[in-house]
């Protein structure tokens, strides 16, 4: 036995027969003991007693290196590492041989399985000869968070973070927070049959954002750039000038005197806003903002009426754009949705016929702070009727009026027959549509129907639907709306026709009775799909986040990690992630806050230390390693190349880039891999290098799936196959390998999408370099469910090997 191993011991777990019934443990013990290695075995090493045994033996024998033969290290690896650390050893001093998934469960012949088990243990023992202790890498995480987007998702996330003690910046591109929810007059509620006032729920939350000392609110501000890495992001913000200082009291005198009317985006494009205005009367912050495109003074004309009217001297035409750099540990993206552009369905006449509108426009109209102060009107009669309302309530926007607008309606302009069309741009496979269901529209249509019927009981409402999706407790709401007398017609309307009097006819096949119907209407409301907002699309490119095919930000795992984005330290919630309603948005935002807080609280962060080590003596500063696709390397001022452990994925591409052999991956040094090869290989073996991610899981799953393959298949785990070079391959063939198989992760995650092509070209390059032996080199992409396919590959390649032997 090698002198380095005189204080080494092997521990074998029986795994309650899972291992001991398939492997002759006594024979194994005798063999290794004859070689001078002490071997201990126990029923369950993972149990408390098992770990106590390990710890006791370490202190009794003054052991410094341990090999455990047990189940896959992905199951109890962390536990065993912790165990030997508690006994005073460095984590690197433990090696685990997988005697269950790679041996006992896949090789039915006991003698063969025992033989392979011994070789696996030998490989691990040889590896330990060359082991160096690994230092833990820890980094401090910036204790602040950034929330991007000030809608209900962003507000909820920011308030939750602040309540958990995290200093939080909330950034909003508009002049007020509130987002889309502020536009909706009433929201539907799952447990009541009533509609709740959206602003009554939202307003206290918005005020909480202002008063909470842990929250810094930055409105009229956009995110320009992101640098740094998870835990230490540097975010560059651009704060646009409002031309109104914070001392604004929100009295509204400026808006009253302003001579310029502008299009009001908040009111879906109505011309009812001044060039100096609040976004809406409950805006937070309640600081006016000047529209720089339309203000006369800012466009070279003499006006300045607002400055004259302002009693607190808050108007400041000299304000300039500010650049703000923030250092934050975690980011939550809550950039929300836009409504689908319904003019892409010209057969519905949106943008062509005046009396066709979207649900969001209807929501604005029904909102008491909307363009008609809550009065339902046909848009074709709108300007006339709206004039009447405006003159009765003073100026637009900011002055609260005590008039009751609904009294104004004497019937002129009020639509009597309303048709709502569901799934406009949703559940639509044609070009220009979206395949997904937007989730909120069925309930929005039901809610608006209920609101309208309560206020205007004589209205006839028809909802044209494909399927009505009132999930969970919403079913009660659906039933209540049915009882109110709303008509439901199942079918997707073909076309809307406008009559000379601006009334409409909706042509539809009722697919329940298979008849063509023509439904007359005064107003048609389109339930347009939710699509990712322009802000969401922009932030995806600024932050480099993965998106799904529709442009929503993609979560790491739809079930297990629903708010983790593709990048560590960046989380996503609300409609930026997928279509959802207010209720679901709030729950998801809460989770995003918890995940963000957990990320920050884990400071200093212990990082995986299986990352590149750089031998500064060999390094020539050729800068080849700076080609790292994750930009993990940098050249310091002192001329030294350093690696950022936060960014590094440990893939090993740098070991290929470095021509001087200065870079190796800790725990996967060439000497260690060579030693393991020498330990495990026999003449005619198939050697598999397994990516430690998905590929490794798949190999383990072969055992779980009760499949088998020949025992001359030997697997060695590597970060990726990029660490395997020509020298290692030659060594493997010298040690008896009949062929070598690279088993790689498929390009299914953002990280693997980068790495996979590199492994493919690396493989092709090696195949060429190896000359004749290149034909003995194989590559396989491993998908977790495809255990059968992988076992089949093992078997056929191993048989070929046997034939060569």
């Amino acid at each position: 036995m090698n002198a380095a191993l005189d204080k080494t011991a092997v521990f074998i777990c029986h795994c309650s027969g899972n291992i001991s019934e398939h492997i002759d443990i006594n024979y194994l013990k005798k063999t290794l003991q004859a070689e001078g290695v002490p071997v201990f075995d126990y029923e369950y090493l993972c149990s408390r007693e098992g770990q106590t045994l390990i710890k006791n033996k370490i202190s009794e024998g003054n052991l410094d290196r341990i090999v455990i033969g047990s189940c896959t290290p992905s199951k109890h690896g962390t536990l065993f590492k912790k165990c030997i650390q508690e006994a005073g050893l460095n984590r690197a001093m433990l090696e685990i041989a997988n005697l269950r998934e790679h041996c006992a469960w896949v090789h039915p012949d006991k003698a063969e399985a025992t033989e392979k088990a011994i070789s696996l243990l030998r490989g691990k023992l040889r590896r330990l000869e060359n082991i160096e202790p690994l230092e833990e890498i820890k980094v401090d995480i910036a204790p602040q968070a950034l929330v991007i987007g000030g809608g209900i998702a962003g507000i909820t996330a920011a308030v939750n973070l602040a309540d958990n003690g995290i200093s939080t910046y909330l950034v909003e591109k508009d002049s007020s927070i509130g987002g889309n929810m502020a536009k909706i007059g009433k929201v539907f509620s799952p447990d009541k049959l009533a509609e709740e006032c959206a602003m009554c729920s939202l307003s206290p939350l918005m005020n909480e954002v202002v008063v909470n000392p842990k929250i810094t609110l930055l409105t009229w501000t956009e995110v320009d750039r992101l640098s740094g890495s998870a835990g230490n992001f540097t975010v560059r913000l651009r704060k646009k000038p409002r031309y109104v200082q914070d001392k604004c009291t929100g009295c509204g005198r400026c808006s009253h005197v302003c001579p310029v009317l502008v299009e009001n985006e908040f009111n879906c494009g109505h011309m009812d806003k001044k060039a100096i205005s609040l976004r809406f009367s409950q805006s937070v912050p309640k600081t006016y903002c000047i529209d720089p495109d339309h203000c006369l003074q800012l466009n070279g004309e003499t006006c300045g009426k607002c400055a004259e009217a302002c009693k607190s001297g808050a108007i400041d035409f000299s304000q300039k754009e500010e650049i703000i750099d923030l250092n934050v540990g975690a980011i939550i993206v809550a950039t929300g949705f836009d409504e689908y552009d319904a003019s892409q369905k010209p057969q519905y006449g949106y943008g062509i016929f005046k009396n066709v509108m979207t649900q969001m426009e209807l929501a604005r109209m029904l909102g008491i702070n909307g363009p008609t102060k809550g009065t339902l009107l046909k848009p074709s009669d709108f300007s006339m009727a709206c004039e009447a309302i405006r003159s009765s309530t003073g100026t637009c926007g900011n002055k609260n009026s005590s008039d009751n607008p609904s009294d104004n309606s004497n019937g002129t302009g009020t639509p009597k027959r309303i048709v709502m069309i569901q799934c406009v741009g949703s559940r639509d496979e044609k070009e220009g549509g979206n395949r997904y269901c937007s989730r909120y529209c069925c309930m929005a249509a039901l809610k608006h129907s209920s609101l309208i019927l309560k206020k205007y009981p004589d209205t006839e409402i028809t909802i044209c639907y494909i399927d009505l999706r009132a999930l969970g407790f919403y079913e009660n709401y659906y039933r209540a709306v049915q009882d109110m007398g709303v008509n439901f017609v199942r079918g997707r309307p073909a076309e809307i026709v406008e009559k000379p009097d601006k009334s409409l006819v909706v042509r539809i096949e009722d697919t329940l009775d298979q008849r063509i119907k023509e439904i007359p209407a005064d107003l048609v409301v389109l339930s347009a799909a939710m699509i990712p907002s322009r802000g969401t699309r922009k932030i995806a490119s600024v932050l480099n986040l993965s998106q799904d095919e529709s442009g929503f930000l993609k979560e790491r795992h739809s079930k297990l990690k629903p708010v983790d984005s593709s990048l560590d330290g960046i989380f996503v919630c609300g409609t930026a992630q997928s279509p959802k309603d207010v209720t679901d948005t709030i729950s998801q935002a809460g989770l995003a806050a918890v995940r963000g807080r957990a990320f920050i609280a884990d400071s200093p962060k212990a990082l995986v230390n299986e990352i590149p080590t750089i031998d500064q003596l060999l390094c020539t500063q050729c800068k080849e390693c700076l080609k790292c696709p994750f930009d993990a390397f940098s050249l310091k001022e002192n001329g030294k190349i350093v690696v950022d452990p936060l960014v590094c994925t440990g893939c090993g591409y740098c070991t290929e880039l470095c021509q001087n052999g200065a870079i190796q991956i800790a725990s996967f040094m060439k000497t260690q891999l060579k030693a393991e090869i020498e330990g495990i290989l026999k003449e005619g073996d198939l050697l598999g290098f397994v990516n430690s991610g998905i590929a490794s899981l798949t190999c383990d799953n072969i055992g779980n799936s009760v499949l088998s393959y020949p025992s001359n298949v030997k697997l060695i785990k590597v970060p990726t196959n990029l660490v395997v070079d020509k020298d290692l391959l030659l060594h493997a063939f010298k040690c008896g390998a009949s062929s070598v198989l690279f088993i790689e992760d498929p390009p299914d995650s953002p990280k693997a999408e980068v790495i996979y092509p590199l492994t493919v070209s690396h493989f092709e390059k090696l195949k060429k370099e190896m000359g004749d032996s290149g034909s003995r080199l194989y590559f396989k992409k491993a998908y977790v469910p495809n255990t059968k396919g992988l076992a089949g590959t093992f078997t056929s390649l191993a048989r070929e090997g046997e034939m060569i032997k």
Partner: protein
């Protein structure tokens, strides 16, 4: 989904159409006139036969015969080195595309067709799977024109600004293979875009825009009244929208509108103010082609003299 960048202008077999040839030969001469001036590389091959579409949709040819004839035409196209079949008629387009899909995906039918060829000693016609690609070997002449809209705009001699024009897109182009068309099949814009390049003032939307022309192949003969009522509905909508010129892309629509407008006027006692044209005729006209020698307007039933006098002087 097709994109405009995918539309070729080389190796096009200009696929002759029976309806164009016998009813409106000006559509073919106009297309050739325009293609020649746009530098499109095309050929017309006399060995090519009818696609059988009109017979197929009137239940005279069953599917196997239609597929076998299509396979023969594919062999003709490949043999002459012009494998991109470019149709003047949207029925030829749909029939060829559908037949290609059947031949590529249905082994039984492919074998049957090939065995007929072999029995008759026509080995050179045998179709191997994927000899033609459903997506990349079949085009409508309008797609080629659309891909050259900028060039058309540069070369136009007459400006049709001020002419109120409406488009009728062919159902056999937009509805049969609706996942493989240029643009949004619910909002077809091919003709609109090309005609706008010629300066026409397009009517963006008119009632019944998505309605068929009414022909329905056998329907025109078996249920003539229904067929003409549909056409009348469409003509009424156009009249209401103040349309002067109706442009289409399929000889079947052309027949239905142009030949039957006078019939409808007589039978229903109405009067319409619009004239009809194929988009290729319109483009040729705007590029300075002779209205009779090239565009063949003398074969139209709704006379165009008034229109030509008004706008092409």
């Amino acid at each position: 989904m097709k994109t405009i960048e995918d539309i070729p202008d080389r190796q096009l077999l200009l696929f002759k159409s029976c309806m164009v040839g016998q009813e409106y030969p000006g559509v073919e001469t106009s297309t050739r006139y325009v293609f020649d001036r746009l530098g499109v590389d095309y050929c017309i091959n006399d060995e090519q036969s009818c696609c059988t579409g009109i017979g197929h949709y009137t239940d005279i040819f069953e599917g196997l015969t239609t597929t076998a004839i299509a396979a023969r035409n594919f062999a003709v196209a490949k043999r002459c080195g012009y494998p991109n079949i470019t149709c003047l008629c949207s029925t030829c387009y749909a029939i060829n595309k559908e037949a290609c899909e059947v031949l590529n995906t249905n082994t039984e039918i492919r074998e049957k067709v090939n065995s007929i060829f072999r029995e008759q000693g026509l080995e050179d016609l045998v179709y191997e799977k994927d000899d033609m690609n459903v997506r990349t070997n079949f085009y409508h002449a309008v797609e080629i024109l659309l891909s050259k809209a900028n060039k058309i705009q540069e070369q136009k001699k007459f400006d049709f600004s001020g002419v109120k024009v409406a488009a009728h897109h062919a159902c056999h182009y937009y509805k049969v293979k609706y996942l493989d068309v240029l643009g949004n099949p619910e909002n077809p814009q091919l003709i609109d875009t090309i005609a706008a390049a010629c300066g026409a003032d397009m009517v963006r939307w008119y009632e019944d825009r998505t309605l068929t022309c009414g022909m329905g192949f056998s329907q025109l003969h078996l249920n003539k009244n229904t067929s003409l009522q549909v056409t009348k509905k469409k003509l009424d909508s156009l009249q209401k929208a103040g349309v002067e010129l109706m442009i289409h892309m399929c000889p079947n629509c052309h027949i239905q509108y142009d030949r039957y407008q006078p019939v409808i006027e007589k039978e229903f006692g109405v009067k319409y103010d619009m004239v009809h044209m194929n988009i290729a005729q319109f483009v040729a006209l705007s590029m300075g082609a002779d209205p009779y020698k090239v565009c063949g307007f003398q074969t139209h039933s709704v006379p165009l003299e008034g229109f030509l006098e008004k706008y092409c002087q």
